[in-house]
Amino acid sequence: MTAVRRYPVLVALIIAALFMVLPFGIVAINAVKSPAEYSSNGPLSLPHGLYLDGLKDFWQRVDYGQKLVNSILISGSVAIGAAVLSVLNAYAIGIGRIKGRTWVLAFFVLANMLPQEALVYPIYYLSKQAGLYDTRLSVIIVFTVVQAAFGTYLLSSVLGRFPREIIEAARIDGANKWQVLWRIVVPVSRPTIGVLLVFFFIWTWNEFLLPLVMLISNDNQTVSVALGVLQGQRLMDATMTNAAALLGVLPAIVFFLVFQRTLTRGIAVGAVK
């Protein structure tokens, strides 16, 4: 193909890609504008200087530090808990080849596809009965199980192809099932487990419905819920909105840069929800 025909396609793709990231750019320039500058020049002008009071005000108003801590605590615990649960389940299904494993696996897959709307009221009701309502622990427990459903499905198919010879050799050397799991299966499957940890963390970070219902007090809310609720109430002016959007986008961009390889490749590890 000639260069003349090549470049228009490339240019079109670049314009499309710029359109995808344009919203991030507009948010970033408006988050550092003063309200006066915003109202006189509109959203599309470049900022004349760095005005950080909007960000600072927003941070203090919603106690954003606390929200970050909550999100990290919840997502981190869920990622680890769900990975452990997935490994145990997948060990029984993929390597143990327990009886009826197809049905067990189908059960986990269907559990993963259930809409949370069909669980939300009973979970709300039961957690109130159990004294767990409005605790971070309640959300951690629920999402550990929900995420483990996907993890079980994925890891089972990976462990189903685990080289049997290695396991047989270890068993002959006298290792019990527990030792085989932690000393052989887990270390060898580390790349897949790493992908799962990253996805569990980010999915839990982004969850909205259940945390919205379960975490009502300010001290327990996650970043997603705190921002979503504020936006839903339409209490924010333009500067505040942009500060909120920027502070919400930043952690996502950090994950993206840190985990880009894992994310984009890992997605192929079996199509994501």
Binding site: P43, Y121, P122, T144, G228, A245, V249, I253
Partner: protein, 325 residues
């Protein structure tokens, strides 16, 4: 499902079908079942019991306090005649278009263009950067995407309206999220933006396993880009297309956060979807029995779709294996 796994930076296609299955005597399987115990107990407590409760409650008239009163199929009969429910259900078909159909088609074309064209002529680095741009919205919490877009789409001083004015298309300005005739399409547009990265990345990963010789042979035979796309790319990544369509359709039926943050189902119910409708029925109207019926219907629809999808997928994979054998 066929699964691609990365091991040490290399994408390995995971079929060891003809790998010798040794005929060693098998040990009894029972003790492995112990490893399943924590998982099964946790699933019973968090998923099975709540799901059964929800189904049970859907046959009652319950306000969330006191004893539920059995009402049989009354809630379901009411649903049949509830125009609000049918409207929300119709809107979720629009969401399927915005979150599954459009992103799959665009994702296919973009993936083929990036992989086959940009990657080959301008280097994989540029292709990777462009792919990253398209994927970025996928890592964003939906609440944050909602904030960004509701501000961009604001009627006064919103960036989109300002942009239209700046390029002389001021007559196209709208109250994007506040006008009942426009709001649903605006939400659809935002969802396309949110969703497009997912199919793109899955398809690009799928394209990596297509044998380059197929393309070379086709090019020698004089097949143009479009014919190669249609006759090689599409059939080769059919499994990925099934998976993407299935997951995206289910995601579209469940969509909640975006509607909550962008429009709260408004204006006047113009963007209401079943999940948001059940949420307000549960927690704002506290008609728990009725909300449970809505979410049960939604569950049935999703599970039926999922089963059909999985069936189609296995059938397609079996057919492919038949061709290869």
């Amino acid at each position: 499902m066929t699964v691609t796994v990365e091991r040490g930076g290399r994408v390995v296609r995971g079929h060891h079908r003809h790998h010798g299955r040794t005929t060693r005597p098998r040990r009894p399987h029972t003790s492995y079942a112990l490893f399943l115990l924590p998982g099964v107990l946790a699933f019973l407590a968090v998923i099975v019991v709540p799901f059964l409760m929800n189904t049970g409650v859907s046959f009652t008239d319950w306000q969330g306090v006191g004893a539920p009163k059995w009402s049989g199929l009354a809630n379901y009969r009411e649903l049949m005649h509830d125009s609000e429910f049918w409207a929300s259900f119709r809107h979720s078909l629009f969401m399927v278009v915005a979150m599954a159909a459009v992103p799959t088609v665009l994702g296919l074309v973009l993936a083929a263009a990036l992989f086959d064209f940009v990657g080959k002529h301008f280097g994989t680095k540029i292709a990777a950067v462009l792919r990253a741009c398209f994927y970025l919205p996928q890592v964003l919490p939906i609440a944050v995407a909602g904030i960004v877009w509701s501000w961009i789409l604001a009627p006064d001083n919103g960036s989109l309206n300002e942009l239209l004015k700046a390029v002389g298309l001021g007559s196209l300005q709208q109250d994007w999220l506040g006008d009942p005739d426009v709001a649903l399409y605006s939400v659809m547009g935002v969802m396309v933006w949110v969703q497009i990265g997912f199919p793109l990345v899955v398809f690009m990963a799928g394209l990596q396993r297509v044998d380059p010789q197929l393309y070379e042979a086709a090019e020698l035979d004089g097949a143009g880009w479009w014919r190669r796309f249609w006759h090689i790319t599409l059939p080769q990544i059919r499994p990925e297309i099934y998976v993407v369509l299935l997951w995206c359709t289910i995601a579209a039926l469940k969509v909640f956060g975006a509607v909550y943050v962008l429009t709260k189902g408004g204006p006047g119910g113009a963007t209401d979807v079943p999940s948001y409708f059940s949420f307000t029925t549960f927690f704002e109207k506290t008609q728990v029995g009725y909300g449970a019926a809505i979410s049960t219907v939604l569950t049935v629809i999703i599970l039926v779709l999922a089963l059909i999808g999985l069936k189609l997928q296995t059938r397609a994979e079996d057919a492919e294996e038949g061709l290869r054998a």
